[in-house]
């Protein structure tokens, strides 16, 4: 029976979630009224087909009176069985499940607090194989694992938005895995925050002629901050991610160190993470090799084992940079490509889409020399090119320098998994600094993150200023 007695809305909800749209224009909305972590009132609105409405009504009845985390355990399979929905109605029922979980996530985002449980561990899940394995491992260890997935902004005009790591399908995959394991899942909708904290600076960086690295901003600050904020609210004191990094102790402070699997090491991406947050984080995959993890995931039959790995900038959704920037209001104006003497060698379609070091797609030549982009002069809309030798640098100035441990010499990395270059860091005023390298480094562009290692561990980090 579709029980319509909980149709309606909580007047001043502690959590609210919506889902729907598509061709049938179904709409579902949940509002939650909490007393402590108890779902005192669960109300639904539905202008939707029978399967969707039945699922919404069942979820409201089932969740009301239970705890927030019990609600977060309710998945599609349970809804289909409980509300007696035919398998053909599964997609419709999913709309109701999405709306319900959006409301649960919103309640957590608004500050709902769950009583602490020392056995509870939050697992940050992207929908991919690594975090899936962390979840199953955490469950196998006997913990109550609460999966948390962030829903992030993706260019709506991207050619394949589902390729992004935090797309709706990835959120559902993470949620399904939690529910298969009887564990709660919380999805935090941070699309607006992500846009403001990661996408907008990315666009602004390009507009200023820099080559920003949004992945380090996202991993290093945005995602860690966002998840750490809710860990305590969810009654946990520690949380885990599927990053291939390790932590080492330095005088009581945890430092990010390279993962054992050099081919998958993600320490560069976490160079900017606040050490205070790191005191609560565990990286169970840091000591493992990716092939072993994948093998084990396949053995466990994890659907995520074969999931496409997101490699490029996720919110581009497989699209090209230049049209994305244009859609974001960055004007691409054709201009000159010049050498260091100012000799015009050709024209570009818009200087901002070029990256120092880039060689392909320039369409200019000077004799038989291979030419690379040396730098972008954003105000002059000019791309300056030169030979690879001119890209080599021994001195790199940094801003926003964070020092975790003072060491006389460092190994600097300016890109993910690039070969480290030995040198030393000299501090300047206002968190600036200069890295003096012992050998040449190239392909260094303003806006990139400089991760400074002492052996395997990151002792300092900053943003390339020039």
């Amino acid at each position: 029976m579709i029980d319509l007695s909980r149709a309606g809305a909580v007047a001043q909800p502690d959590g609210e979630g919506r889902a729907g749209g598509g061709r049938c224009n179904d709409r579902v909305r949940f509002t939650l009224g909490l007393v402590g972590d108890r779902l005192e009132q669960v109300r639904f609105g539905a202008d939707a087909c029978a399967s969707t409405t039945a699922a919404a009504a069942w979820l409201a009845a089932r969740a009301e009176g239970g705890s927030l985390l019990d609600g977060a355990r309710l998945g599609l399979a349970e809804v289909l069985a409980g509300a007696t929905i035919e398998p053909t109605g599964a997609e419709c029922a999913l709309t109701a499940v999405d709306a319900f979980h959006a409301a649960i996530g919103d309640a957590v985002a608004r500050g709902a607090v769950v009583p602490a449980d020392p056995n509870r561990v939050v697992v940050a899940m992207s929908g991919g194989v690594d975090s899936a394995m962390v979840l199953t491992q955490t469950v196998a260890e006997g913990h109550e694992a609460v999966g948390v997935t962030l829903r992030l902004w993706i260019d709506p005009e991207a050619p394949s938005p589902e390729r992004a790591c935090c797309a709706p399908s990835a959120v559902r995959a993470a949620r399904d895995l939690c529910h298969q394991n009887g564990m709660p899942h919380i999805a935090l909708d941070l699309r607006d925050d992500f846009r403001a904290a990661v996408v907008d600076p990315f666009v602004a960086g390009y507009a200023a002629g820099e080559t920003p690295n949004p992945c380090t901003t996202c991993n290093g600050a945005f995602r860690f901050d966002a998840i750490d904020r809710v860990v305590q609210r969810l009654g946990a004191s520690t949380w885990r991610t599927g990053h291939y990094v390790q932590l080492v102790d330095h005088a009581g402070t945890p430092l990010v160190a390279r993962g054992v699997d050099a081919t998958k090491d993600q320490s560069y991406m976490l160079a900017l993470v606040d050490p205070e947050i790191l005191t609560r984080v565990q990286f169970p995959l840091g000591a493992r090799k990716k092939v072993d993890v994948q093998h084990e995931a396949a053995e466990q039959g994890l659907a995520a084992a074969n999931a496409l790995e997101s490699q490029e900038v996720c919110f581009l959704g497989g699209g090209a940079l230049a049209p994305f920037l244009e859609r974001q209001g960055v004007t691409m104006t054709p201009g000159p490509i010049v050498d260091e003497d100012g000799v015009e060698l050709g024209t570009h379609a818009g200087a901002l889409a070029y990256t120092p070091g880039q060689r392909r797609g320039l369409g200019v030549s000077r004799g038989t020399e291979a030419l690379h982009v040396l730098r972008i002069d954003a105000p002059a809309n000019t791309v300056i090119v030169g030979t690879v030798g001119r890209l080599r640098r021994r001195e790199v100035s940094l801003r926003d320098v964070q020092v975790r441990a003072d060491t006389p010499r460092i190994d600097a990395c300016f890109r993910m998994r690039s070969t480290p270059v030995a040198g030393r860091l000299e501090h300047g005023p206002n968190a600036t600094g200069t890295v003096y390298l012992e050998t040449d480094a190239h392909q260094i562009a303003p806006g990139q993150v400089a991760a400074l290692y002492d052996g395997e561990r990151i002792v300092a980090a900053g943003i390339v200023a020039g």
Partner: protein, 383 residues
């Protein structure tokens, strides 16, 4: 009516009518002792032939046709296919098909279009009736066929077939009328129709069994066969004849088209009108002639949700649009009538039969009175 399952009020007669005991009784002997093959010369065969001829004569007489113009088929869809494809066995030409045809005709026309036929679609007015002025312009001498539903299975709107037949006759174009739904609630009389006309019937809409239908009318003589075999049914529907089915169709037509039918139709229409008045919902096609027990109502909420809620309360009705694979597509008939998608998705179809009672109508009104406020709250809260 209340079915064998005494708790169900069945108001989906347009989907299929409950078996009429009189029909079942009439056909039973032909499923047991009178089993002969009408093509055989022995006594059992001769008996079967006589039964079949008698049934054919009764069918013909009940719709005003010649017995030689009755081709029995394996159901309504097959009848429509024979009537359409039976005129499309030669070089591809042109056909006119109304915008509100049942898939049995519409899909067949689509297949012909893929084979090189030109298919012209005749539009309907917002009231659901064919636009006769447009039809007049659309039909061309030399067209292979015009197809028009006698009455819509969705809206129940009855088409002005005499006028349409006159237009077709004027252009010397054969007309096929899908009367599968019409036969259950409107009088069929082919005797006055000019030109070459065929109609399609299905027994199960009339209280008879599934898998029994017919193509009937003067146009039958000029059809080409679409299946081949032993030459039965004038070679248009080869295969050993279904005598029981023919007897059942005759018995069902006797009930729906016989002398007592007009009074029953009036009674059904009165119950339907009472239902519509008490529910107070917008009625599709209200301003034109409709089948007597047919109500297509715009609820303002999703039709299939309303249908499920009625079902849970023991009342079987139907939605105007079906949800398939997570997409509720509005019905093509309603789209052709310029009804917007959301309104079309909110349609429910309540179709009464000869056995529907005033108590059934009371039950529907009571359920709707209970449901409407809750559905309103749910829809408001979704915004």
């Amino acid at each position: 009516m209340r079915c064998d399952n005494a708790r169900v009020i069945y108001l989906d007669h347009a989907a299929t009518a409950p078996p009429d005991p009189r029909v079942v009784e009439a056909m039973l002997p032909h499923l047991t002792e009178r089993f002969g093959n009408p093509s055989e010369p022995h006594a059992l065969g001769r008996q079967a032939r006589a039964d079949l001829d008698a049934a054919r004569e009764e069918i013909a007489s009940l719709v005003g046709a010649d017995p030689a113009d009755v081709v029995l088929t394996g159901g309504g869809t097959e009848a429509d296919n024979l009537a359409v494809l039976g005129r499309a066995q030669g070089t591809p030409g042109r056909m006119v098909v109304s915008a509100i045809e049942h898939p049995a005709v519409r899909r067949t026309a689509e297949v012909l279009a893929r084979r090189g036929w030109e298919i012209a679609v005749a539009p309907v007015l917002p009231n659901g009736r064919l636009d006769l002025i447009e039809l007049w312009d659309l039909v061309q001498t030399g067209d292979a066929l015009v197809c028009v539903m006698g009455a819509s299975n969705v809206t129940g709107v009855v088409q002005p077939i005499a006028d349409i037949a006159a237009i077709c006759a004027e252009h010397a174009v054969p007309l096929h009328v899908d009367d599968v739904q019409t036969a259950a609630g409107a009088e069929l009389d082919l005797s006055d129709l000019p030109g070459r006309v065929t109609i399609a019937l299905a027994a199960h809409k009339l209280g008879g069994p599934r898998g029994v239908g017919a193509v009937i009318g003067s146009g039958v003589q000029s059809l080409d066969p679409i299946v081949f075999g032993g030459g039965q049914e004038s070679g248009l529907r080869p295969g050993t004849e279904d005598v029981a089915g023919a007897v059942a169709l005759a018995a069902a037509l006797r009930i729906r088209q016989g002398v007592e039918a007009p009074a029953e139709r009036s009674q059904r229409a009165a119950l339907r009108d009472d239902l519509e008045a008490r529910l107070g919902l917008p009625v599709v096609g209200a301003e034109v002639e409709r089948l007597p027990g047919h109500a297509l109502l715009l609820t303002g909420y999703r039709g299939d949700t309303v249908v499920r809620l009625f079902d849970e309360r023991g009342i079987a009705i139907s939605a105007g649009s079906a949800c398939a694979s997570g997409e509720t597509l509005p019905d093509a008939t309603l789209t052709a009538m310029d009804i917007d998608d959301d309104a079309a998705r909110s349609a429910i179809r309540i179709t009464l039969g000869p056995t529907t009672t005033a108590a059934d109508i009371d039950a529907v009104v009571a359920v709707w009175t209970e449901l409407a406020p809750a559905l309103h709250v749910a829809a408001e809260a979704s915004a």
